[in-house]
């Protein structure tokens, strides 16, 4: 690796320029759909079907946003979504870390065999269990409630168990043993030592969980029916069904639905990317 002081050869400069051009061009392609979304959301309806289409709105209509968002009770959908997402997130973080602790820091017979089962369920397409699951929740009278969406999260998620276990394994065992000698219970070790030492990976799990449940459409579609129980994903689809070609309103609402994710992403990027790397690269 050449240090900064050494001057680059003409060939190296040329290849640097090519790299920046390619990356810059790629970035434009990546960002263009979002630009197009924002631009459409601010256009008056009459300008949307103009030919050729405008890349930037000639006339900016901010009122598209309040107009579109008051067509349906999006505040109720927002509240439902936030409630479901938080309940799922709490369950997945808490339960998965408890389970992962037993799989990484405790020694017991059957540990490895059982962990293979965890890995196998990670690979399972959920549809194969979906119909009986639907019938179980129907028998329990939980269809069209939030229970079928929240309850499974409180049994732990194999993907997060795997992620947390890998992280817990990197901690030194001496620290646990020292704490036990000092009179700390095993559970105390988990609560007072392992969890505080694992903040980055707990953050990653929390963000993944938030992202997944915020975007989730399939399960709400199957389990929720009444409009007052809709999540944002269902509300958005309902809105699309009703205002199918009002692309400015559709883009405005879609953008608002995406916004919390984008904001969370920008503030927690570090953990997000660390977490992704930790799962995929091993």
């Amino acid at each position: 690796m050449s240090s900064k002081g050494v001057s680059l050869s003409a060939r190296q400069i040329f290849s640097k320029i090519i790299v920046y051009l390619l990356l810059g061009f790629g970035s434009i392609i990546i960002l263009l759909p979002l630009q197009w979304m924002i631009s459409t959301s601010l256009k008056p309806l009459s300008h949307i079907f103009r030919f050729p289409p405008e890349f930037l709105p000639q006339k900016v209509v901010w009122s598209n946003y309040p107009d579109a968002l008051t067509q349906l009770p999006f505040d109720i959908y927002f509240g439902n979504t936030v409630f479901i997402v938080i309940m799922c997130l709490l369950g997945e973080v808490l339960v998965s870390s408890v389970v992962a602790y037993a799989f990484s820091r405790l020694r017991w017979r059957g540990r490895n065999a059982l962990f293979i089962v965890v890995l196998a369920t990670m690979m399972l397409p959920r549809q194969v269990t979906l119909i009986p699951e639907f019938i179980i929740f129907k028998e329990l009278g939980m269809i069209d409630t939030f229970w079928p969406l929240i309850l499974p999260s409180w049994f732990g998620n194999p993907f997060y168990i795997f992620l947390l276990r890998q992280y817990f394994l990197t901690h030194s065992r001496e620290l646990d043993q020292a704490a036990v000698i000092d009179g700390c219970s095993r559970f105390g070790v988990f609560w007072r030592i392992t969890l505080p030492m694992s903040k980055p990976v707990l953050a990653a799990v929390a963000i993944f969980s938030f992202q997944f449940h915020w975007n989730d459409f399939f399960r709400p579609l199957i389990f929720l029916f009444s409009e007052e129980n809709y999540t944002l994903a269902l509300g958005l689809r309902f809105f699309q069904g009703t205002y199918g070609t009002e692309w400015n309103s559709l883009m405005a609402v879609s953008l608002v639905v995406m916004l919390p994710l984008i904001i969370v992403f920008f503030f927690t990027q570090k953990y997000f990317i660390q977490g992704v790397v930790f799962t995929g690269y091993k």
Binding site: Q127, F134, I135
Partner: protein, 315 residues
């Protein structure tokens, strides 16, 4: 198999001497019990139940009726749609997964050239990977609009009149492939981390030996990254085959079933027609199809996935 593998290895001797502590075992089972309960209630039992259901005809309202293999006979021979749906789902995956891997790798390699602004580029490329679901599907439906959409407007700049995309039997699958390429950053971040972990002395040694750029890519970079690529391939198959939301929102399987992905068909049978027995058979065929694809990939792994000798300590 040799006898040696049943003997305790060096590192395991301490475990054997100490044995398992009773208190620790009890605590461990208590701690994993939520997952065990969830596994039994929401995975193991439903799997067995759906296999059993696949031999019945059941509309939920009236009691189930035993029909033997009739659902499977219908699925493979009478109803043309399941195999059509499976075919286009596999076709889509065969296009989408390799393209995502190739582009993801290419971008990661560009980012790994000691450039300035790495964090900014990484953020930009990764951003779409966090977005998915209905909002993204609606956005792309608008992008693919034939007259007023972004894609055809951009193509017109180059003098190309784009197809009707979602309205075209031929172009609807490529449209879905293009849409999925937008989130290429998800894999890219992982490859980038893998690239950064390759020891630089490998490249330095190769350079001294006179290896050119291509040789370095094919002899060092790709072999070193192959476990990562393999992992992405496996998870990619499972994730990509399950495409549902996009087709549900954007095309509803059309035009003329050209984007009738397997799960959309399963959803219709189960939750619109309430053919729970038939849908269970569909689910099991899908499960076995994914399992077979994954096993085939695992079988090929020994020819191209390169594991370092020391890596067997993992897990």
């Amino acid at each position: 198999m040799s006898l040696a593998q049943f003997l305790p290895r060096k590192g395991a001797i301490t475990t054997l001497n100490v044995g398992y502590k009773r208190g620790e075992t009890v605590l461990a089972w208590a701690m994993v019990s939520p997952w065990v309960a969830g596994f039994l209630l929401l995975t193991a039992f439903p799997m067995v139940a759906s296999l059993a259901l696949s031999f019945f005809r059941w509309d939920i309202l009236s009691p189930p009726k035993w029909v033997g293999l009739a659902n499977y006979v219908k699925l493979f021979t009478i109803d043309p749609l399941p195999m059509h749906a499976l075919k286009i789902t596999v076709l889509f995956s065969l296009a989408s997964i390799p393209l995502n891997i190739v582009f993801g790798l290419a971008i990661a390699m560009l980012l790994n050239t000691n450039i300035r602004g790495l964090a900014v580029f990484r953020t930009i490329y990764y951003l779409p990977a966090i977005l998915s679901g209905v909002a993204v599907a609606i956005l792309w439906q608008w992008i693919f609009s034939s007259d007023f959409g972004l894609l055809n407007t951009a193509l017109r700049i180059f003098g190309i009149e784009g197809p009707a995309w979602l309205g075209s039997k031929i172009w609807v699958l490529p449209a879905f492939v293009i849409m999925r390429l937008w989130s290429v950053g998800g894999g890219m971040v992982i490859y980038l981390a893998g690239l950064q972990a390759i020891p630089t002395d490998l490249y330095e040694a190769a350079e001294i030996d006179g290896a050119n750029w291509w040789q370095r890519i094919f002899r060092i970079t790709l072999p070193m990254l192959s476990p990562t690529i393999f992992f992405q391939l496996i998870t990619g198959v499972i994730f990509t085959m399950q495409i549902f939301t996009e087709t549900f929102i954007m095309t509803d399987g059309g035009p003329a079933n050209a984007s009738l992905f397997y799960l959309l068909y399963l959803y219709r049978q189960a939750f619109q027609n309430f053919k729970m027995g038939y849908a269970s058979a569909l689910a099991w065929v899908f499960f076995v199809a994914i399992l077979l694809l994954t096993l085939i990939l695992f079988a090929t792994a020994r020819f191209w996935v390169y594991y370092e000798a020391e890596s067997d300590e993992d897990n």
